[in-house]
Symmetry: C2
Subunit: 640 residues, 2 copies
């Protein structure tokens, strides 16, 4: 029977007051006993390793006493943890988890499968690939895509760039390999034409479209045989010879001292991109921030200008990272327009690059754009459901464009509402994975009879041992709450509605003499604003006030528990140059003062709304009104 999401939503979570405690306890005990009786029934003739008499000895009792005592201590300590479950938590991108994911994790953890390979996770490796398929369908990827779970967004993004670099440099290696093997191969170019590989300049080789690169790889394997092709490619691959030798060879082979390859990122990109390019050896100087528009989205015109300029200087572009749901503002880049810029660069400049969408935060919002039968849901239908003018068609086009990105990272442990740790990386052309494959000696693909090499994830990914329980948690959550209008789509729509209600309430809040200056209404569900007061005449004093308000509304509060919990961030120059001027104008802060503030930046209060009950409180608590009132008191306390 089709679920009515309004009626179903109350069943999805344990609940802010643990309203579904009986349900969760029943499932937990069921899962535990079910596991216990598996052990009991496994070769019952084996007898017992631990006898009842062993359980009556002093050492046993003493060990149980220590464990129980320490557990009670831990449980007491955990009461100092953050009440993410409560409507009073309006801070980071974390809330409570779905019951499905909690029970899925717990039940599977008792078995502790390791998804490095199906030999030690015959069930959950399959579930992990199913989960990747769920996410791929949600964003409109073809069946030839591929993906898997990671420990989180940083590793997912790391892999995306690692894979992107492997594909981008593949034609260079293929040209060397084909030359060694005496092969003459054709390759597709960015402008749509094709040419013999042997005659291409280094610049051309670094601007082969992703699909054409992988086609070339297949052509090479067919011509030379897989093993021979692999050996020849290895002689010329960055992965094998390393950057130092690679740079030397390029100079030698092509007499072409090209500048280092760059990575374009939206200026809102998560700070981990800097870690990633540092670790990969690309270097943080090669991270080029693309300015924002006033909606805090990557500015497509600025992107085009930057791409043209780089091409003029013959600086290769490894990848461009667009963001779907920025971690500070939940802004959704106009990925459709970014794709147009790439298409134009290919057409007009003969240059191209890998396009990655960092949808770690926002990816699950794509569930709003799917109907129960997996089709695209028209904008009018979505707006009929929200009863509002949002989301507009531009937003929907931006989300639909995810299906055209070369890779997308999506974190189930963010808007998938599952416990840590579960990130995911998807690549549109699944062949990409073979470029980073390795062959461990003890985990052979021949394992488990008919099981396929594809079930041996350790070959293709950065990590090794990984929890099958995480895969089962996401899998069960997707089963209980489908990735479409009936499930996650509805859930995220509710949080968007709540965040817009909060945004509107803050916009009209009367907290005089304080004044609230807000960022634009969020693309998804993060509300940001700054509190100001007539007595404040410098950026530093403004920041100090907002920092003190944050302290009042956080667990760091000096005098007793906070009424509500928020967080804050800093908008810094030059990243926010394109977006922040209207905000500074309203605050009366000179742009020059802000630019000169360096890492200090502008302190902005930030509330992520993952609470699906915020929009329709009655008869529950109204945490919008409560929040605004508490903010007023916090302002007064902070100034005093």
């Amino acid at each position: 029977m089709p679920l009515d999401p309004k009626e179903a939503l109350p069943a999805w979570f344990l609940g802010p007051r643990a309203e579904n405690a009986d349900l969760l306890e029943r499932l937990v005990v069921e899962a535990l006993r079910d596991h216990v009786f598996w052990r009991r029934n496994y070769h019952p003739e084996d007898g017992f390793s631990i006898r009842e008499m062993d359980k009556r000895r002093e050492g046993y009792e003493s060990s149980v006493a220590v464990l129980t005592q320490e557990l009670l201590g831990l449980l007491a300590e955990l009461k100092r943890d953050v009440p993410f479950f409560s409507g009073r938590y309006k801070g980071h991108m974390i809330a409570e988890q779905t019951i499905a994911s909690q029970i899925g994790y717990f039940a599977t953890m008792l078995y502790n499968p390791n998804n490095i390979a199906a030999e030690i996770s015959p069930v959950t490796t399959r579930l992990e690939l199913e989960v990747a398929g769920d996410l791929a369908r949600m964003i409109g990827y073809p069946a030839t895509s591929w993906g898997h779970l990671t420990s989180g967004g940083t590793v997912a993004n790391f892999e995306a760039l690692w894979l992107a670099r492997s594909v981008r440099y593949l034609p260079v290696a293929a040209a060397g390999a084909a030359n060694d093997l005496g092969l003459d191969l054709e390759v597709g170019l960015a402008d749509g034409s094709s040419a013999p590989l042997g005659g291409l300049r280094l610049w051309d080789l670094l601007n082969i479209p992703v699909e054409a690169s992988l086609d070339l790889w297949e052509r090479l394997r067919r011509s030379a045989g897989p093993a021979e092709a692999q050996r020849a490619l290895a002689d010329h691959s960055l992965a094998t010879i390393g950057y130092q030798e690679y740079s030397r060879r390029l100079a030698l082979d092509y007499g072409d001292p090209l500048p280092a390859g760059v990575v374009l990122v939206a200026a809102t990109a998560h700070y981990s991109w800097e870690k990633i390019v540092r670790a990969l050896g690309i270097g943080s100087n090669q991270l080029v921030y693309i300015p924002l528009d006033t909606c805090y989205r990557m500015d497509p015109d600025a992107l085009w200008e930057r791409v043209s300029e780089l091409v003029r200087h013959r600086q290769p572009i490894l990848a461009c990272v667009s963001v779907c749901g920025t971690t500070e503002e939940s802004a959704v880049d106009r990925l459709d327009q970014v794709l147009e810029v790439r298409a134009r660069a290919a057409r007009e400049l003969g240059a191209t690059f890998h396009l990655h969408s960092d949808a770690c935060y926002g990816g699950y919002a794509a569930a709003m754009t799917r109907t129960a039968d997996g089709k695209s849901r028209p904008g009018e239908a979505i707006r009929r459901s929200t009863g509002e003018i949002w989301p507009d068609d531009k937003w929907i086009r931006a989300i639909a464009a995810l299906g055209e990105a070369d890779s997308v990272s999506i974190d189930p442990h963010k808007m998938g509402y599952v416990p840590y740790s579960a990130g995911a990386i998807l690549v549109r052309d699944g062949r990409t994975r073979h470029l980073v494959a390795s062959e461990p000696p003890y985990l052979s693909p021949a394992v488990n009879g008919g099981q396929d090499v594809e079930q041996f994830l350790g070959r293709y990914i950065l990590e090794g041992s990984k929890p099958g329980a995480a895969a089962a948690a996401v899998w069960l959550s997707h089963k209980a709450i489908p990735l479409d209008e009936r499930g996650y789509g509805f859930l995220i729509e509710r949080t968007m509605a709540g965040s817009r209600r909060l945004h509107a309430a803050l916009a009209r809040a009367k907290l005089a003499p304080f004044r609230l200056v807000l960022l634009p209404a969020p693309d998804i569900n993060i509300v940001c604003y700054v509190v100001t007061h007539p007595s404040l005449d410098t950026l530093t004093s403004l920041n100090a006030l907002n920092e003190r308000i944050f302290q009042e509304l956080s667990l760091a509060r000096k005098s007793g528990a906070p009424e509500y919990i928020v967080t804050r961030t800093r908008l810094r120059s030059p990243m926010y140059d394109g977006a922040i001027v209207p905000l500074l104008d309203e605050l009366g802060v000179p742009v020059a003062e802000w630019k000169a503030s360096g890492p200090e930046g502008l302190v902005v209060l930030r509330s992520t709304v993952m609470d699906p009950f915020l929009d329709s409180p009655a008869p529950g608590p109204d945490h919008v009104a409560g929040y605004v009132a508490a903010l007023g008191r916090a302002c007064t306390a902070a100034l005093g």
Copy 2:
């Protein structure tokens, strides 16, 4: 009261027949209800978001029905999972988990803290640092060391090499920075002398000992001020400028086209080291495998020769990776001798390198070498407890040497018997972490009042969001089962005794016409052997037999469930050249035939013994006798 480990051991696990089911269920229900009542008591005036009436609607019922049905399906599916808990599982390095870690994980997962920063994990970030401290004390690290948990061994090892590279190249950046700032600084050299930084050649800069590099970093910060020093260093750091520019500058600044830096690894090193050097941009060609001795340990003489040769060719050595508990054989490298080689290289050749111990598998064995009060436990005391001639003093010296390595990786999710995922990386000189630190805008160190920047792990590590539940699981397990002779030391001693009993039983097994050829008695607890038969006259046929025996003793078995479950690996040339000759001789396989076999190698059956009950079966099942008998039947079936 002090625990008697013999009496306590039966309380540590759920048990092969779920003998402790009542204990685990009691703790699970306690933890769940304790959490539930936290939610109930948090601002009780807030009322309810989910009402009893909501739980009686059709959509709610339907959602619960879907969840329950899918969960039952998952539980049924999980019965196809691997029975790691049973004494019949003798395969990979996985067994059941401690009750303490299971309940610690579950209890904390309900709170879902994120150990990226204390703001969203005020309790578990502290527990994570305590866990790192536990492990550091166990291996004899000083209080100035530092460490944290990772998603697993691959990320831990990745970070080790990332940190090692940062330290190794630091003096080059410092020389550039000091020059820019007009500073003249002294720096310690490998031979114990010191010299002005400005006058050093590139080769000398790349051979500064770890501690001297970090002292130099501090001196630079003191002389120029931290911010200025940071800026100046960034202008010359590989992390900032990237490999391509870095290589160009070295050639320009020093006119010194040094070959690429290499990473020395024991030939038994885990395959993930290849992934790691590929991803870091070092290149797998720079991975130099050091030959083994006949105990499958890195050969110190071969290491010395290789180091001397590299120094002669002025090829810088980034790091040397020694293994404590190889993943195939559980061999423990003579790290004490590796340290002597490094000391000699510094003394005689003026060259040095970062020394990392990959103790992902074997690290917890160090618990055997600690007394209850944290002191070193003498060899005689350990042998009195094992009642045997093992472990010998050489083994004990090798383990004690962990305290002198620059970094050590240890996986709690291997011999710590905790659920996935929990790896750990420790660095001896905690200052190292500052070299890779980053500054995210929304997770400020000023959070939570007195809380220290050190509680903000996201600054220093590769990953971002990470499960506080994993930290709590390891923490509680260490509390219940101390990291010394009373706890993990005893547990691992029992598995070693079991593996030696199995090794001895296989050595004397009469399975004629089959013959078993064994690897040496394990350094820890992995038993490897090859089955041969008079009719087999090629390596290929020998491998095929062992592969078929493996299939008989695995879940891939075609006709029904296997009696026991083992796994297998492949010993390949050139990695195993130094170790394998006695084995091939006994098998009658010509060394040349094996060398020519490439990736095929020699198939070796492999049984990890993590079962602490294997050595003292009565009155429980005797899984040594059972295993040998089942092996006999599998041999016959495999040949037929």
